[in-house]
């Protein structure tokens, strides 16, 4: 499976993702510069965290209109897989590839801490190795991670089972106290209806080795690889 890790000016989690894919998963991976438009040889594109273009105007706003993200629309249309974490989630929302928007944390603080996530949808390429109700531990690191969407969009997310993860307690209970940023309905990550584009504020790449304090992030990468091997569609090329 061939991975691409997108690098914008101001991206900071690119090396971490590259490391996990190449050194932990042992999969081919290359960096993709933000001006590139050809993603044809890739199976999965990762939009890492950081502050793309300084997050000027709004977080992810400028990156959401960049050449590589324009190319990403075709890539998604062809069934390519996209994982956006942190700033990557903000970019996917600004680009309209996922619904809603990320706004400033309700607490006004930049939150850099461990969080518990309860799995809401185990039927996506990224979560197939998990089970609904399973609790994952992953760090967050952001100032603008409060998910917002209008009532109609929220109803659609629930009806179509598009919420992937919600912030919860260690026991998997979704509570106000376990919500680190004031996100609507404790939403930490969502997917598109096809289950091929996933955006999340937490950092799976920072929870993929025991030495980093946990390996729950690796479960997502393993889901990805497992589902592709089972499905086989990406291996036939």
């Amino acid at each position: 499976m061939r991975f691409g890790v997108v690098v914008f000016p101001g991206t900071w989690s690119d090396c971490d993702f590259h490391y996990v894919v190449s050194e932990v998963l042992h999969q081919p991976v290359r960096y993709v510069w933000h001006r590139e438009r050809d993603l044809s040889e890739l199976d999965c594109v990762i939009l890492p965290g950081g502050f793309s273009y300084g997050d000027y105007l709004r977080a992810g706003a400028v990156a959401g209109r960049s050449p590589v993200v324009e190319a990403l629309r075709d890539f998604v249309g062809r069934g390519g897989l996209v994982l956006g974490s942190c700033n990557g989630f903000q970019i996917l929302c600004e680009a309209g590839l996922l619904p809603g928007v990320l706004t400033r944390n309700e607490c006004l603080q930049y939150r850099c801490q461990s969080t518990h996530l309860v799995v809401e949808n185990a039927d996506t390429f990224f979560t197939r190795g998990l089970r609904v109700g399973q609790v994952l531990t992953m760090p967050i690191s952001h100032g603008e991670g409060k998910y917002h969407a209008d009532a109609e969009t929220l109803a659609r997310l629930k009806r179509d089972n598009l919420i992937a993860f919600r912030y919860a307690t260690a026991e998997g209970k979704v509570t106000k106290a376990s919500n680190p940023n004031g996100s609507l309905d404790n939403i930490a990550g969502i997917v598109n209806p096809e289950g091929t584009v996933l955006g999340m504020m937490p950092h799976p790449e920072r929870a993929s080795e025991t030495v980093m304090g946990g390996t729950d992030g690796l479960l997502m990468f393993q889901s990805l690889l497992g589902s592709l091997v089972e499905d086989g569609s990406f291996l036939k090329r």
């Binding site: 105007l57 209109r65 809603g100 706004t103 006004l108 409060k146 917002h148 969407a149 004031g182």
Partner: protein, 88 residues
Amino acid sequence: MKVRVLVRLKPGIMDVQGAAVKRALAGLGFSEIADLRIGKVIELELDDATPDARARVGEMCRQLLANPILEDFTIETLADLAPREVAR
């Protein structure tokens, strides 16, 4: 041609920055503020020959300057702008 775009959070969207600034002002003794919301001012200078300048700027707002989920925008051309009070 000078154009000024005002981007504001829609009514009903919680403005946490505005709430924090309101608290800060209250701390300075300005307790009379019932509500305070923060927006953005974007000033553009367009080529005078730009046809349909207002429509073009509207398109800029829809494509990049404002996020329609969160924000409303208003467009003022120079003719709309009253002389500004000079801050002291």
